[in-house]
């Protein structure tokens, strides 16, 4: 298995944190694959473990258990030069371009930092040329070379974050809420940039967001997370056309629609997301679910394929399919 079709293949990945009140199940037995050149959208509410999952995949956080196959090799076992190489190939763009850039470094210093650390350029001239190329690629004007982050708006700052991630020619990029901190018009510009880059360079993305409309716009496949678990995964059009998990249905119905006219039926969920510390047995969503049966609080539902390439973790799926 040297050149797999799946660039990323995550198997039974777990990440638990020890906190004073017990064991926090941030990521609990997640298995996902991302085909080369495709975008997997990962949606869920705050605290569901989506950012932790993204960081564990690229090795920023050590996993508790499980494997992450990158190009068919288990990246969790990498060490030394092999690990450094993996880190070059798997990059991340962070949510907040206001806090993720060093305020005392200029645009060119910020973009050249990864190149210098990895000794990718032999001469100053080569480095400058590479920085100029990256700035052009992400749409930053060359007059901004000596600017500092505080002089730039959020959209330009996020372009710097993207340029830093692209500097080492990665194959895989985790985009952790890359447009959440941006105004809608700037958001549209950055989304178009990410789409263009994927098209021209063949990147594989994991796009993490709480914004369903944005995820729908950028993704080929979508996985929905709730309290550390993936509850549903399907290709983009299927998931948004026919969501099967009660949580996905509620999530989609909660998005306000920017049009006038007849309103869709809204499912208002009762209560809040429970704590991920020492979660109870059974389905994590059972406490807020309107289809709850006895089995839901006793047994954890497995993610099963209910129709080709549509996976749902729900005991009541059969019932839901009939009513969908």
């Amino acid at each position: 298995m040297t050149m797999s079709d799946n660039l990323i293949d995550i198997r039974h990945l777990k990440k638990y944190f020890n906190v004073s009140s017990g064991l926090l199940h941030a990521v609990d037995d997640v298995s996902l694959t991302i085909p080369r050149g495709k975008t997997l959208g990962l949606v869920g509410e705050s605290g569901c473990g989506k950012s932790t999952l993204g960081r564990v995949i690229i090795g920023l956080i050590k996993e508790t258990a499980g494997e992450v196959f990158f190009n068919g090799e288990d990246a969790t076992k990498f060490s030394g030069e092999k690990r450094a190489e993996f880190r070059r190939h798997a990059q991340i763009v962070f949510q907040d371009p206001f806090s993720s850039l060093n305020p005392r470094m200029s645009v060119s210093q910020l973009i050249s930092e990864p190149l210098i650390i990895n000794k990718s350029c032999k001469s100053k001239a080569e480095l400058d040329a590479k920085v100029a190329e990256l700035m052009d690629l992400v749409g930053l004007a060359s007059r901004l070379t000596t600017s500092f982050p505080h002089e730039l708006d959020g959209g330009r700052r996020q372009r710097i974050g993207i340029a830093r991630a692209l500097a080492l020619n990665p194959e895989f990029i985790v985009l952790d809420e890359p447009v959440s901190a941006l105004d809608v018009c700037i958001q549209a510009q950055v989304l178009n940039l990410l789409a263009d880059l994927r098209e021209s360079r063949g990147y594989t993305y994991l796009f993490i967001s709480h914004n369903l409309s944005v995820v729908r716009y950028v993704s080929d496949e979508v996985a929905v997370m709730y309290l550390g678990k993936v509850v549903e995964k399907a290709d983009n059009s299927t998931l948004f056309r026919q969501p099967l998990h009660p949580y996905t249905q509620a999530l989609l119905s909660a998005v306000p629609i920017a049009s006038v006219g007849p309103k869709k039926q809204r499912i208002i969920l009762e209560g809040d997301v429970p704590s991920p510390v020492n979660p109870p047995a059974g389905c994590r969503f059972a406490g807020r679910c309107m289809y709850r049966q006895e089995i839901c609080t006793q047994q954890t539902p497995e993610l099963v394929e209910v129709e080709p390439n549509h996976f749902v973790a729900c005991h009541c799926t059969g019932h839901l399919v009939r009513h969908a």
Partner: protein
């Protein structure tokens, strides 16, 4: 403007500026709008468009210096808040007008129980004392769906959605005539946002309160408001009832705003049509219409002279020399903008 409407808030020709070291920031320029009793107005625009400054002006909370209200009137129940005495202003703030802020983490006092925070307001504005004030606090908590046994808890013991409910309870405790909600759900998750919006709508209807809802989310406005005002670079550019504005936007900026937001209905695989460029520097607004440098419909006159607000259909105001018609098409789509400068 017909006089038979029951107008609660009437802002006339309001201008606000900030005198900063880098120049004069014209935050709000000649703004006119009004809000009827029991109705809600959505106030939409990007960061720095002047939405919050307008809201703070209503409460006379614009910090002076550097801020300065340079002109206009803000009539609340017919009385100009700019001419109010300090005692009248105190009654206005939190009494007749209350504000819900964006971030429930920072707008609550971390070392007071939620019950005490509501009681404090009630004692101040409703003249209730002791047990009566406490009862009103518990009643408010119950109204927003918080069980009375949690009244003695501190803000950090609540989740984000619950905290925002507490803020709403405080805002409504004194039966205000107007609620100003500044991005009330931006810090919340979508399922919690749906709960909170549902709650605000329900309470607003039962208490007959007017609301000014500041947001950048056109979806929230469509589901909550009666009228909508779009702001760009300190200017109101379009102002109409929801139905008219959403089905028939007249200002190019409004059209661009609708294009830029991906929705659950937009076709898959298409590029988003973006508005080229960036909002102008507020210390150096362009000559003429402030949107003209980014406007694909702009004509020579747009760069020379601003149009000013005018009513082109009953109740539909727009600040544009060439308001869009259904025949205008969509030039943002025809010429996909190149983002790089």
């Amino acid at each position: 403007m017909s006089e038979n409407k029951d107008i609660l808030l009437d802002i006339r020709d309001l201008s606000v500026q900030f005198n900063t070291d880098s120049g004069v920031v014209k935050a709000v320029n000649h703004l006119n709008m009004h809000l009827e009793r029991g109705k809600s107005l959505g106030f939409v625009g990007e960061t720095g468009a002047g939405k919050t400054t307008t809201a703070l002006s209503i409460l006379q909370l614009v910090q002076t210096p550097p801020g300065e209200i340079t002109g206009g009137e803000i009539l609340f129940n017919g009385q100009d808040v700019r001419k109010m005495t300090d005692a009248e202003k105190r009654r206005l703030r939190g009494g007749d007008v209350s504000m819900i802020f964006q971030d429930p983490m920072t707008s609550l006092n971390p070392i007071m129980t939620v019950e005490d925070q509501i009681t404090e307001m009630v004692q101040l504005h409703l003249n209730l004392k002791g047990e009566a004030a406490r009862e009103r606090a518990i009643e408010m908590l119950r109204l927003v769906g918080i069980r009375p046994e949690r009244a003695k808890d501190f803000p950090h013991q609540f989740s984000g959605g619950m905290r925002q409910r507490v803020v709403i309870a405080i805002a409504l405790a004194c039966r205000p005539q107007l609620i100003i909600a500044d991005e009330p759900t931006t810090a919340l998750d979508v399922t919690i946002q749906a709960q909170v919006l549902e709650l605000i709508k329900k309470l607003q209807q039962s208490e007959k309160t007017s609301m000014l809802l500041i947001t950048h989310d056109l979806g929230i406005v469509a589901e909550t408001c009666d009228t909508v005002a779009i702001m760009y670079a300190g200017h109101l550019v379009e102002y109409a009832d929801i139905k008219s504005l959403y089905t028939n936007p007249k200002h190019p900026y409004t059209q661009g705003l609708f294009n830029a937001v991906p929705t659950l209905e937009s076709p898959l695989g298409s590029r988003l049509a973006v508005i080229p460029g960036l909002p102008p520097d507020p210390t150096n607004l362009p000559k003429g219409c402030s949107f003209s440098p980014r406007c694909p419909y702009a004509q020579p006159i747009c760069h020379e002279k601003a149009c000013g607000m005018r009513e082109i259909e009953p109740g539909h105001f727009v600040d544009c020399h060439f308001p869009l018609t259904p025949e205008s098409g969509n030039k943002f789509l025809e010429h996909p903008a190149k983002e790089a400068e």
